[in-house]
């Protein structure tokens, strides 16, 4: 039960009869009592004539997923199964970060009919956004009192990571095509694969002439090469404590998502197989055995609900996880944070196990604010801040050196730079035939 503003106004309107009739009869107190009884009776009458909100049934029509930043329409159908026309307000109780533009709608549903309440949603957080309840407030014909009921009407929408880094994809794909043997710029080298034989044209590397074939064909024939295919790429995302840190207003984990999505898009076009593990002490997301467009869809779907956990990353379990994914030589990309040497001990201790069998790239976001702070030395406070920033940068470079010494590659960049930097490193490794 609830009352409306109109009822409040009606109660306040009692001032007029209380003064006017009170002066006439000399009993303003009695007039007040009578007025209160009158409005109460009106309210009860109104309430008894209101349609029952309990007799409303709901159904939803929702797109199952959307990208962060896009707007979708959530459709809620309300059917009035009662005998009276329902006039009232409906609240569709979406979670705040589902970004519902309006959550309340006025409806008027005649008996036995169905009405649509559509709410535009612009979610501002990645993950599962849910709605559990619909509250219906049904006013009587006078609009004074209302009946209210909360109905269970679950719905969910999965908000996928935005993948802003896809703008870097066309240029990287062009670079990938350049690597293709058809352009005849490839050098012979370890790891590139033999593709086909064709006639020599001027400009080809003389070292790629296949003399046996030339002898058979009586024509100069060169071997062409293409980049290696069907290699394995394993992306390991650290979803532990440190991934929650916000750098340039983006959590590390989101940057890691962007970088892994770009790398996966690139690698799957290059014919490699990509597997993804998001891990801290438990498996948070896993994508295995998907290729092509399916891979991207599965990845964004798996990553959408992953949030940083307040746990320390368990690096000791990572080699076993990687062994579980693949036993062949692969490119292992560890998307984590490189911090102080103390915090990176666990990572450093397992790296040799990985680098023995695989090519390992450690990717980490650096804080552009630290670099900026190290240059800013206007006053005493800033000098000390610069000293602290230099110390932080020094720590990062020390850990990076240690990682390189163990035979792994390091990619560090600011949040906007990391995805293309990681893609470039992948292309460089591919060009060098190191996969």
């Amino acid at each position: 039960m609830t009352v409306s503003g109109r009822f409040v106004a009606l109660v306040a309107l009692g001032v007029v009869p209380v003064i006017a009739l009170g002066l006439v009869t000399g009993e303003p107190g009695a007039v007040l009592g009578a007025w209160l009884l009158f409005v109460l009776a009106l309210g009860i009458l109104d309430l008894s004539l209101a349609a029952s909100p309990r007799l409303v049934t709901t159904s939803r029509s929702l797109p199952p997923r959307t990208r962060l930043g896009e707007t979708v329409l959530s459709e809620l159908y309300l059917t009035n199964r009662g005998r009276r026309t329902l006039r009232g307000i409906v609240r569709d109780a979406w979670q705040p970060s589902a970004g519902a533009a309006v959550t309340r709608a006025r409806v008027s549903i005649p008996s036995g009919e169905r009405r649509l309440v559509s709410v535009p949603l612009t979610p501002f957080r990645r993950g599962e956004r849910t709605v559990e309840l619909v509250t219906v407030r049904s006013f009587g014909p006078l609009g004074l009192w209302a009946r209210q009921a909360t109905l269970k009407s679950p719905g969910r929408i999965r908000v996928l990571p935005p993948f802003h880094a896809r703008k870097h994809l066309p240029s990287r794909l062009a670079r990938l095509r350049e690597l293709d043997g058809a352009t005849s710029v490839m050098v012979r080298g370890q790891g590139t694969e033999f593709d086909s034989l064709r006639e020599y044209v001027r400009g080809d590397d003389v070292r790629s002439i296949d003399w046996r074939a030339t002898a058979r064909r009586r024509d100069v024939v060169v071997r062409t090469w293409r980049p290696e295919r069907d290699r394995r790429v394993v992306l390991v995302l650290d979803t532990g404590r440190t991934s929650a840190a916000r750098i340039a207003d983006e959590p590390r984990i989101d940057t890691a998502f962007e970088a892994s999505l770009l790398l996966a898009a690139l690698a799957t076009r290059a014919g490699d197989r990509v597997d993804l593990l998001a891990y801290d002490r438990r498996m948070r997301a896993r994508v295995q055995g998907a290729t092509g467009a399916d891979l991207m869809a599965k990845m964004v779907d798996a990553l959408a609900p992953v949030e940083p956990e307040l746990l320390e990353m368990d690096w000791a379990a990572v080699p076993a996880l990687v062994r579980g994914v693949t036993s062949q030589r692969s490119l292992i990309v560890l998307l984590t944070s490189i911090d102080a040497p103390g915090a990176s001990t666990a990572l450093l201790s397992v790296l040799p196990q990985l680098t023995k069998r695989h090519v390992v790239v450690v990717a980490s976001v650096t804080d552009p604010a630290a670099l900026e702070a190290s240059r800013q030395r206007g006053n005493r406070d800033e000098v000390y801040l610069a000293a602290a920033a230099e110390r932080a940068l020094l720590d990062i470079s020390r850990v990076s050196d240690a990682i390189r010494q163990m035979g792994a590659e390091v990619v560090t960049a600011s949040p906007s730079e990391l995805p293309p930097a990681l893609a470039d490193r992948y292309l460089a490794l591919k060009a060098a035939g190191r996969l």
Binding site: T2, G5, F7, V8, A12, G14, V15, V18, L23, P28, G29, V31, L32, L36, R54, T57, S59, R60, S61, P64, V72, T79, A93, W94, P96, R104, E132, L133, T135, Q148, A149, T150, L151, K152, P154, G155, A244, A245, R246, I247, P251, R252, P308, D367, A369, R377, R380, D381, V383, Y384, L385, A386, A387, A388, A389, E390, R391, A392, L394, S397
Partner: protein, 404 residues
Amino acid sequence: MTTTTAAPSDATVLTPRARTVARRGLFWAGVGLVCILVVTATLLLTRGGAASDLLLDPSSAAPTGAKAVAQVLREQGVDVILPEGYDEAIAESGEPGTTLAIYDPSGYLSAGRLTALTEQAEDAVLLSPGFRQLQAVAPGVNAAGTADPDEILDAGCDLAVADRAGSISAGPLLDIPGNPDAVGCFPAKTGGFGLVTIPDGGDTLSLLGPADLLSNDAVILHGNAALALGLLGGTDRLVWFLPSVADVEATGPPTLQELTPTWLVPVTSLLAITVLVAMFWRGRRFGPLVAEDLPVTVPSGETMEGRSRLYQRTAARTRAIDALRIGTVGRLGNALGLSRHASVPEVSDAVASVLGRNPNEIRSILLDTLPTSERDVVALSDALLDLETAVIAAVDPRPPTTAR
């Protein structure tokens, strides 16, 4: 993204029905009712025998009350009426066959009101009348002090009531020097009478000096009871009026209450009720709150800033400047194309040779000088920055711009 998922159309209602709420609340309503009953019973049991503060209160069973007399009078068929105020008293005493008893030791009633009351009633009994009351209703009667408390006053007159009583306890006395109609009974040794009756046409005005004899405590002594019943039980109705502060007649300028319009209180109450209704209107929740887990927010620069404040608070100047020097030396080494493992003196010498400056000076900036004050720290940091800019400009392969 046009795929559609439909929720089961059979939505469950989460809000309980009014009936369910009532049934759930029944237990607590019962508990509340029992509590109220217990409290009421306790109050009744403990307050039932409590004495009222009023003297000669006919409903009080305390020693100073007068419940005994009133009770006996009721049993004798007298209708004992206890008016709440002056208006009720004057209304009740107007009926024929009514005795009016007034006990007003504090003198709340004005002379006019007292006169009006005594004239209205057939018989009137003033208990322990004070000076002003006597002035008002019986101008010829005076107060005559107080008799010795041990003395017993004998009737000493041929008034039937007094004669039946025989003797009464002593108390305040009255004298009748200037009223020839008045009859005095129960004379004291010191002069004065305990009871004075003044006939007024068919009515009688009785003035009883020692009114304490009506109290529960004293009514059993001597002929007190007989006098009391005789005085008060002469008619079928008895109006026993104990004036209170509320019966004081207001004088002087009109009070605030008289000046405010009659509708003011109802209107303010209505506004208060409106405010309550408005609070309910705005405060009624539109369904339950929606809970959502929010992610943790960890600003990344926290450790850096914490460390800088730590340096500053502990005045770790050398440590701070060392951090700056290590960074600068690393960048200078890179700019000059030296090995990453080059020592600081090597870098310092290389910088000196590139810039053509004194090696010792460069070395003191990069290694030797120990900062002793905050100013040194800032100066050294500036020197390091200048050195870096100069070296980078010097090794820049592009031709220097004309501005330099």
